[in-house]
Symmetry: C2
Subunit: 509 residues, 2 copies
């Protein structure tokens, strides 16, 4: 049985999902992103309103202050609150909390913490409605999304975002250039700094927690992408590149970056420095266009920090496995350890319709190397807008990647989940195994396809091997017969049964 | 358009799938495992019958001889035939070809060649029929299975295997202990060497190309598994452990290994040395039970080589990412470079129903580190027997993992596939993109869900971003406007537009 429980901390009450187990086994507590549940017409209660302060989390951390948000994530991650504060102070972690989005539950993004997953949703000009997007938001957080990006384009962009923010228990990210482009009817050349600034303020007021800003697509870098197999594949990157070339001027996001910092500081919005020149194919990975931009993102990271503004840095994209580590090492070096936030990366281009898998491989690896948050990829990537099924498929693949990375990094407590499930499996506690699964319903349904009867839920085998060939059943029988006891006898007896093979089994026997 | 083509080599005719492309682009040739197609009642033609010889491929290679099978795989892999011969001679590659399975098309397994994928099929006592299994075989090879293991248990084991072998264009592997156990009505204690020997001969006569032999589960190793979270999870391993403990004698597969070698040499059957003590959970990975057995498998590898018998070595199982590389390094060291053949490994235990994904992550990584063949895992792993949909899901996930590994290893020609697809994507050649996809039908269907009309197949956007936000469209427009030309101007002009940020954008601007 799964149920929601709350753990008390100093001034905070932190939600978890508790999985009750049978047979006297301790319950297992899982990180919970689903929020308290909302009526879409009303929105969520403003949890964080009483905690409001004029400082950013970074400014507070630097002043040695522990905010209620830090207390909350310390309980949530089961780590000392000093670690939370110090990692934020050093810029190695961010706690995205626009003061106008008090509905969100605090969460932290940084390499010393659990690897997080972002889900992209949003309407496009071609398809989708506001209600559908709120439903996708709720769906995504139920499947474990730690943040959600609203990538809506099309006419109802403001209204969609308002509905999403008021109903979101997780931080919301956006790419403001999309709305700015709507305001100039889709012509990148007509974009201006005042128009963009106005758009940022509009979204800041609504409560957007982090924004992707493509300030690293500099005019001299654009030609570096000219001979690529897939050119520029970031929407924001291509828009800014078009603007730069048309005006033959430097990117206005770069030249006005300090003013952006002031606005972000006023709301405690976190930068997500966009990688507008990320590679869109295996062929283009780790090229000069990509790394030139990354150097500029490093420069901008340090500038944002001067303004007490929190920063994440976005990363690729499409990268073959052997080139993944270089991305992390370079980012850590250039960006002073600011959290890396990557899209996959996809480790091959050959499988459209399965890019949740091609990229889960890269995501798990880049997570292991230190990436703090993974932007999911759904099966619809490159083909169309994700529906609910796609959101779920993307979330599951990425929760797997993130957890595999947590295990590989040795995150304290991560392996307890695996151990509890494996123990349930070995002891034929089928219901416990299902309840502990990332997706209990599907695990149960697959089991029931071939052995639907209720007794099979306590059977000491499944249809995969049948009763006679169940290794775990045999293994249990051995244990009952005293495999452990015999062990002691063997060791005491010098393990005499074992004779080097050459002595007992020469040619011809 | 996809079509089957044949490439001629010295005395051989090797099948490929050729993907024809539009717009004057060169066609792309893909490795083809689907075989010539068979009427299940008749079986496939005996392609290799005229090539029969008394030698094993290993003996021939050691004598410097190039067999027709070697010529075939050299064309198939696009490598020099001398490389094929030398890798086989050194034991670093195997070419599994039972002389009684002349229907199969030669293929090679070794770290210098394309990473291969095995699909497990087979009836169990609880479910499935012979005709269904032949259908699964054909289905698996259509989706790219390089070998298929028939893991049937239950009453119709001989008949199922016969139907599978006669219809298989790929090598067939088995685990003979399963049939031996059927012969003693499921009681491991009643197993004997003569009974096992008779079973091996029966399967050898039928044409099984490689057999899993759990000769490394030694009596003194069994107690090492006593305190594991999941004990012994290999069926064959648990059977042999039960036998050893009950008789308090050494594993009869180990003590009679030399005689096994003689039988294998007579048919040119390849050993697949089973890892009966592989870990069944993250908690048990890389433990002493596992590595003790691996040391014995190394010993047996060298003994088989003395008999001119080809050898692969099986590997785990469940391993967290940071412990994967150690498995490969140790196996290469202990087993003299004999091909490693791993089941996944799964990188976390928390996602039953998605273990094709948890394990594709591990499979891709272990492939990159040098594993020669990956045994697929389907979504039904731990829950039930795979049906056709599961076989396909497992195959797709593993073809992705294998190809990602080929890219990471820099296998010559591997990236041409990715580049062709990415180029088609960038040029909005939608039909070419679909045809080049690992699963063309699904890619096309996903695209058509939101933009079904025929003109959308030539549209310069998809429903994901819509026309205004398509980065690739903008990127193309830039290119037309001379992004490349501007590049030259910039470089010539000293890239003067770029000014370090601190100079143009101080605080307050």
């Amino acid at each position: 049985m799964r149920r929601k429980v709350y753990v008390e901390g100093p001034g905070v009450r932190v939600p978890f999902v508790e999985v009750g187990l049978s047979g006297g086994n301790d319950p297992v507590r899982l990180y919970d992103t689903s929020g308290p549940g909302s009526d879409p017409e009303v929105g969520l209660p403003p949890l964080r309103k009483p905690w409001a302060t004029g400082r950013t989390q970074l400014a507070a951390a630097r002043a040695g202050e522990v905010t209620p948000e830090m207390e909350f994530v310390a309980v949530r991650e089961n780590v000392p609150v000093e670690l939370v504060r110090d990692e934020i102070a050093a810029g190695r972690a961010v706690l995205p909390v626009n003061r106008n989005h008090p509905e969100s539950e605090p969460m932290i993004i940084g390499s010393r913490f659990l690897v997080k997953v972002n889900a992209n949703i949003g309407t496009s000009a071609v398809t989708s409605s506001v209600a559908e997007e709120v439903e996708k938001l709720t769906w995504a957080t139920q499947w474990g999304a730690d943040t959600v990006m609203d990538l809506s384009t099309g006419p109802r962009i403001h209204e969609t975002r308002e509905a999403i923010i008021r109903n979101s228990p997780v931080p919301i990210g956006t790419v403001p250039i999309y709305q700015a482009l709507e305001k100039v009817k889709g012509d990148p050349v007509k974009l201006t700094w005042p128009l963009f600034r106005e758009t940022i303020l509009e979204q800041a007021e609504q409560g957007v927690d982090y924004m992707t800003i493509h300030a690293g697509v500099l005019l001299p870098y654009v030609p570096l992408a000219a001979d690529r197999v897939t050119g520029i594949v970031s929407r924001g990157g291509s828009i800014m590149a078009a603007w730069c070339l048309a005006h033959h001027e430097e990117n206005f996001l770069y030249t006005n970056f300090a003013e952006l910092c002031e606005i972000f500081a006023a709301y405690d919005i976190t930068f997500s420095l966009g990688d507008g020149l990320r590679p869109g194919s295996i062929a283009d990975a780790n090229d000069e266009a990509q790394f030139a931009e990354l150097r500029t993102l490093g420069e901008l990271t340090h500038l944002a920090w001067e303004h007490d503004v929190q920063v994440m840095v976005e990363g690729p994209g499409h990268v073959p496995m052997h080139k993944i580590k270089e991305n992390v090492d370079l980012q850590v070096d250039l960006c002073g350890g600011a959290p890396f936030y990557t899209l996959g990366p996809l480790t091959t281009d050959i499988a459209p319709a399965y890019d949740h898998i091609t990229s889960a491989i890269g995501a798990a690896m880049i997570g292991m190397f230190g990436t703090a948050m993974l932007c999911y990829v759904t099966p619809k990537e490159h083909l169309g807008l994700p529906g609910k099924d796609d959101v779920k498929a993307g979330m599951i693949a990425y929760k797997i990647a993130a957890h595999a990375a947590d295990l590989a990094k040795g995150h304290p407590g991560a392996q307890a989940w695996d151990d509890a499930l494996s123990k349930a499996r070995f002891e034929f506690r089928w219901e416990d195994q299902f309840e502990l699964a990332l997706d209990p319903g599907t695990a149960r349904a697959y089991h029931d396809e071939t052995l639907p009867a209720e007794p099979a839920k306590t059977a000491h085998f499944c249809s995969m091997c049948g009763p006679k060939f169940c290794s775990m059943k045999i293994s249990h029988d051995l244990k009952k017969q005293g495999m452990g006891l015999k062990s002691a006898e063997f060791v005491a007896g010098g393990s005499q049964v074992y004779v080097p093979l050459t002595e007992v089994s020469g040619p011809g026997r």
